[in-house]
Each structure stands twice: as structure tokens, then as C-alpha cells.
């Protein structure tokens, strides 16, 4: 077992892949706007349907609920799970910045150290960046969230 593989499949990732926090799909809170996105990774058939609801209290927009259904590899499922934990209740602008931070990490080919303060459990996915073929798996839920937020507007 190489150190890289251990780094890719950390225990916390394998646990999230099983727990699937945020799954299954749930109805959005009443009165909040919501949007949905369906994403597919055609090379392997990974699939996710993600629903995001936003609450506007006049002062700002926050993510009031996130839920998803999906099937796929442990990386894609764990990524959706850590994302759900991380962004719940987050300010919309801050959330979009976090998604960019994660995308940058994924595209770094291992050159960036993950910031656990910002990314929480998602920092454990940093090992994916050394495997270009798997970056799409890790990004699937995050791209779906971006699209769902657009749809919620």
C-alpha cells in the first residue's frame, strides 16, 4: 500500500462515503427559494442530484438547506457528504469562495496544502489532487451545488 493511496482513502473519507451526510434528498424549508442540479460523470456513471435552499433575511443570503441523492465511487460520495456538513447555514458569498478554494486545491496536483480551518473534513480530500482522473469525482457535488444555487436565484 503506497502512502499516496493511504492519503487518498483516509479513514475519514471512507466513513463519509458510508454515512452520506445530507442524503437523501429532502424538501426545502417552507418560504425559502430552492434549486436543484443533476450531475453526471459519463466516464464512470457517477451521478448526483443535489438540492439547495437559500434564505434571504434582507441583510444577506444564507444556505438554509442542502440535500442530495447519488451513486458513485467513495470519493464522489464522501465529497458530497463533507460538503453538506461544511456549507450548511453558510453565507452565500462565503460559500462560493469555499467552493473556489476547494476547486483550486483539487487542481493543484498536490502542490497546495489544504486549509482545514476553511475546508473542514473536505481537507481530507486533498490526496485526490495527485490523481487527475479522480478530480472530477471529488468536484461533482461541488459543481452541482454551484448550479443549484444559480437555479435557486
Amino acid at each position: 500500500m503506497s502512502a499516496e493511496l493511504q492519503q487518498l482513502y483516509q479513514q475519514i473519507i471512507l466513513e463519509h462515503a458510508k454515512k452520506r451526510n445530507g442524503s437523501p434528498l429532502a424538501d426545502p424549508p417552507q418560504g425559502d427559494k430552492s434549486g436543484e442540479s443533476h450531475m453526471l460523470n459519463p466516464t464512470c456513471g457517477d451521478e448526483i442530484t443535489l438540492r439547495a435552499a437559500v434564505h434571504d433575511d434582507g441583510a444577506g443570503i444564507t444556505l438554509s438547506a442542502i440535500s442530495w441523492d447519488g451513486q458513485g465511487c467513495s470519493i464522489s460520495m464522501a465529497s458530497a457528504s463533507v460538503l453538506s456538513d461544511l456549507v450548511q447555514g453558510m453565507d452565500r458569498e462565503e460559500l462560493l469562495k469555499v467552493v473556489d478554494t476547494f476547486r483550486e486545491l483539487m487542481r493543484s496536483r498536490g502542490s497546495i496544502e489544504a486549509d482545514e480551518e476553511i475546508l473542514g473534513d473536505a481537507a481530507a480530500l486533498s490526496g485526490v489532487s495527485r490523481y487527475p482522473a479522480r478530480v472530477k469525482c471529488a468536484m461533482l457535488a461541488w459543481v452541482a451545488l454551484e448550479e443549484a444555487l444559480l437555479a435557486a436565484n
Binding site: 464512470c44 456513471g45 451513486q71
Partner: protein, 438 residues
Amino acid sequence: MSVVSTPATLKHAAGMIDDAEARRIRNDFPILNQQVNGSPLVYLDSGATSQNPLCVLEAEQEFYEQRNAAVHRGAHMLAVSATDAFENARETVAGFINAGMDEVVWTSNATEAINLVAYAFSNASAGRGGDAASRFVLGPGDELVVTEMEHHANLIPWQELAFRTGATLRYIPVDDAGALRLDEAEQIIGPRTKVVAFTHASNVLGTINPVGTLVRLAREAGAAVVLDACQSVPHMAVDVKALDVDFAAFSGHKMLGPTGIGVLYGKAELLNAMPPFLTGGSMITTVTMEKADYLPSPQRFEAGTQRISQAVALAAAVDYLRETGMDRIHAWEAELGQRLVAGLEAIDGVRVLGPAAGAERIGLAAFDVDGVHAHDVGQFLDDKGIAVRVGHHCAQPLHRRLGLVATTRASTYLYNTTDDVDAFLDAVAGVRPFFGAN
């Protein structure tokens, strides 16, 4: 003139292939002699693309160093030499499958070969090709028949042809074991059927389909037979005349040749009646500002500058396969295939697609690991230097039929040994424990 080295196999081509022989063969393939992630490479993805022996690489280099020129035009020495090499390559490939010289059309790959046939039907249906092409005209009420186990390359061109012409696409289903439902085939193939397109050997299940039975049904219906030979021509002796198919398609890169070249076999009488697919230079007789007349096959279907060095290299690959012996290769891979399936079936939580151990299959096996996605299986194996294919293998409808989204596939070739298979099986046994699948 040739500087191509003699493959090791030429000195040993006798008796059955065994591990010692497979190791000698392996030495002819430079790429296989490398470490991946700290382990010797175990290449079990030849069903996707095979590797090239040194003689194939040298043949392509020798062409560029000594013969490179445009073919079928130009009066200079190099042009003649290049044309000879190009047409000799055609003769070699034609001989390999027992076809005539005018029955082998170069294409970019098998996908393009199948599209060429589909578009000939399409163009005939649009009124091109005159009376000669009337037998290719399709319309509402006509039926195209494929099978549920087809690679997308032998499915989507027929779907699109049906959309364009108004014909109906039907398919022969598979049973739970992945075998074609021949009882259904007898009901489906009938007077309305114009094309029966099916794979010779399944790239997922490893089954070898009963070509004779399907050809008989197609003949009774008066339908054309299109054979996807991508997983058969590289791995067993194929005689297109004995099979009596009308068309057959295969790819160079799956049979020790380079990428960028494939072959369409077609009966000369049919090819010469078909309107062309791609049009342009090198495929015409007379051109006016209004219209053009076309050369007979194969030039009719070879518009523009051809894949000359690739054809030359593919011929070198065919020579290598012939010298090694297709029956010996088939027997060795069948042995490896049985070892794969028997070993996989013995691993807890592994389900092999297609025929069970003991039943006929080619040297590949696709499987599902309970509780672990194929992508993760492939990643785990790659960490040990083992290269396999993961995903739907361009056969989504078949996976859906078997209740799966993605599987892992190990596919062998003449250069694989039982050690390769055992290393793979040993690694697969570690997959579920690693991922904590119960």
C-alpha cells in the same frame, strides 16, 4: 531495406503458448518492461488498447525514414515505394481475415468503419447511389436489429440511422447470464429487417456469439449482416468468408497496431454498390463543377490523405500475430480467461459478468465488487501497478440490463502470464477489506 528486428516468438513458434513463451513474447513489448507505483506493470487492459511490439514501432519508423510520400499520386520513386507499402499492408490484412484486396477499406477506427456502413444506408436513402444502391434504401416500416450487449460504437450509429430514415431500431435481449436470447432473435429478425448488427465477442461478458445462427436468420430475412469484430480479430482466427458476414469492423490498436487506423471489411459486390461516406480527393474518377463519379472500392471510401504509416505498422502487427499463431493465441487467452473467472468467483463478494467458469469465454472478465465502486477498485489495483478498465466499457444498456452502473474489467493478450492473473487476483482479494465493505 528493412531494418525491422526479428521477434523472439519467430524462433519459438511451436506447441502451445505457456508462461515461458508468454514471457518471451512480453520481451518484444518495450512498454511492458516498466515499474508502476513501485511494482512491475501488470497490463490487463488490452481489451481497451493493446501494446505494440518493437517490430511494429520499427516498421512505422522505417516507413518515415525511407518511404514517406503521398500514395496513389506522384510519379517519383518515394511515391511508388509508399504506395507499394500501403497496398502491401492492405494485402496482408486482407489475407489475415481471408478477404479480397478490394474488400478491405482503411478507416480511422472500428467506430468509423461502422459509421461508414450506416451512412452508406443513409445516403442511399437520401437518393444517392442510383439504382445500384436501391438495396440500401431505408424508410418507415424497415427495421434495424442490434443486440443488448453492443458496444456504443455498434449501437449509436444505428440509432442515428433510424432517426434519419424513419426505420425502427430493435434489439435482441440478453438473459441473466448475458447470453443472447436466440428464441427472441427468431421472432425479431424477419421480413422487415434490413440490417442485423452484432458483436462477435462481447467486450464486457467475454461471450462469443453464435455468428452462424444469426447469419442464417439474417439471410432468411434478406438483411445485411454487420459484425463488430473488435474483440475477435485480435484474439482468434477469423475468416470472414467462412462466417459469411457482409461487413466486419475492427481496430488496429486492439491488435498490436497503432491508434488511428481501423478496418472495414465488406463484400466487394456490396461495397461497389454503396454510395460513399466521406468525400473529397483520391476517391473520384471524373469531377465537374456539378458532380463527381467515384472509384470502386476500396478507394471509393478512402477520401483524402490516408493513414499510410499506420497501415504499414498494422501490417507488421498482423505479421507478428500470424507468426505467433492465432490458434495458439486464442488457446492461451482462453486459459487465462478461465483462470481469471475461476479466481474471481472464489473471492467473497465478487460477481463475474457473463459465462461461469468452465464455459467458453475470451480472455477477459468484467466483475462487480459488492460494496466497492469500480472506480475505487481500479484505483486500488493501479496502486499495485495493475492496469484494468473501470466504468461501463461503452456498454451502458448492457450494464443497466444486469442491474449495474460500472464494473471493473481485466482483459488479457498474448503477452500476459498466469503470474499477471495471479497478481491481479491477489490484489482483488484485498479490495473489500481495504474499503471496509461487509
